[in-house]
Symmetry: none
DNA sequence: TCCCATTGGACTGATACGTATACCTTTAAG
DNA sequence: CTTAAAGGTATACGTATCAGTCCAATGGGA
């Protein structure tokens, strides 16, 4: 029977994956670009600065740059006022992009299935438990979003309004989570924010203008301590965002 | 002004954290134990096997073992039929545990608030998406729970049936999460189990006998693909567990 | 009783990865 | 045409991890 040591019942323990430093750097840079912190045509900080900011050696940064260049995400120009330049998205193979988008679609659906559940509950708890300090932060975030939208309505092509909007939006939702006084909900919302921007990027501020329309009523419901209404509005809000994102992925941009 | 090179506008890019291999190993093993994949008193596979299973060298495993021993999670015995032994967490007397758990009352409430939300949704999705393989695992877990209850009904005072019940219970709920086909829900359920394992321990298997009564109907609802019923039963089940736990904390036992 | 298989403990040399540092090359701006 | 600001290249060093070998304890079976 050749009976070696068969019999291992089940693999309760899986292989560990050791992530290389340069991979972490690749992820970080890719994420920053996806978030709209660096727009096409713009330059990243010089390699030496990146190295310092990321607490990593320049060699490691350069390995990461190689990967990003190979992926068509960056271009490199040498010489004075050269640097690491963020590529235009169109430079990339359309077919590859479609496949990419489709994969992201699945990820996004998972995220939104999760998000509805979590944020609805979060809104409900927040309405019951919020303090005035929470309201204050939320109001600040609302104002910041308005401002960002106003700034972006100009022909201005700065990255700042986009990043600013995303930051404020995140701050708004996170404050609701904080108001829920539940650390697990807070952690989940945080995870959602992180996961969401990876597949999508901060490209579509315009789509979110209407989504933003629901922020104010949501604020009011929470201020009024109306848990049911808050939950309802939040559910709608998340659904609206989901629709907008899916349309975006379907190429209607 | 002293104007050095101030002006770095914002740190769009954060330091990366390089995780050592042995840390990953520690995390894996700790997780497996938290989830009841290895019960107190049981042995982990020999270092050499662990190394192979985790695609890592034995030296790395040993570094991780040092950490786990220092944390009091493992004991090491040398020689033939020695090995890495999972320590018993709840060797303490019930009263002491109750005091400990009382301190954890707030934390437990947070966990259950979160748990209702998450596991209800999980059950609903599971009913819609489960495969036959999921049912098989769930059935195995059900049987294991019955067996554990039977074993504990004896005058037996071993920790084993208790831990075994918890492990099977965890396996049951985790499999539902797996059937939901949503990685975020799965991660959350796992986090819940890990958070509950410590404060709850195996103190009160008797209380859970009735809770266990709901496992079978829950299984049926999921097998029937009845999402609404599954969600409802799950909500009740979690509530029942919560009540039982709170009563225990209030000393009714 | 005694041998021996099993399992943790300890050591060594090889290698890959990341760091630190210095220096070269390209290029735009003054 | 000099200079400063990038990226490009090269070298040496430290260390984490690996692969392999041998030692030490220990319990069970011949």
């Amino acid at each position: 029977m050749s009976g070696d040591h068969l019999g291992e019942p089940d693999p309760k323990i899986a292989p560990v994956h050791l992530t290389a430093a340069y991979e972490l750097v690749v992820e970080q840079i890719r994420r920053a670009i996806d978030l709209g912190l660096f727009l096409p045509g713009q330059k990243l900080p010089p390699e030496r600065d990146l190295a310092e900011q990321m607490s990593v050696s320049r060699s490691t940064i350069r390995e990461a740059v190689r990967v990003l260049v190979a992926d068509g995400i960056l271009s490199v120009r040498r010489g004075a006022s050269g640097g690491l330049i963020v590529n235009n998205v169109h430079t990339r193979d359309p077919e590859e992009l479609r496949v990419y988008a489709k994969r992201k679609r699945v990820e996004l659906n998972d995220i939104f299935d999760f998000r509805i559940v979590v944020e609805q509950a979060t809104a409900s708890f927040a309405a019951q438990r919020r303090g005035d300090d929470n309201l204050a932060v939320m109001r600040t975030a609302l104002a910041a979003m308005e401002e960002a939208i106003a700034a972006s309505s100009a022909e201005d092509d700065d990255p700042d309004p986009i990043a600013a909007f995303n930051a404020a939006d995140t701050s708004f939702h996170m404050e609701i989570a904080r108001a829920s006084k539940n650390p697990h909900l807070l952690k989940s919302v945080e995870a959602i924010r992180r996961a969401m921007f990876l597949p999508v990027g901060g490209v579509f501020i315009k789509l979110r203008k209407d989504a933003n329309a629901m922020h104010e009523p949501l604020y009011n419901a929470i201020a009024d301590r109306d848990a049911a209404r808050a939950a309802e509005i939040m559910a709608e809000h998340v659904q609206a965002t989901r629709r907008a994102m899916m349309e975006f992925l379907d190429g209607k941009r």
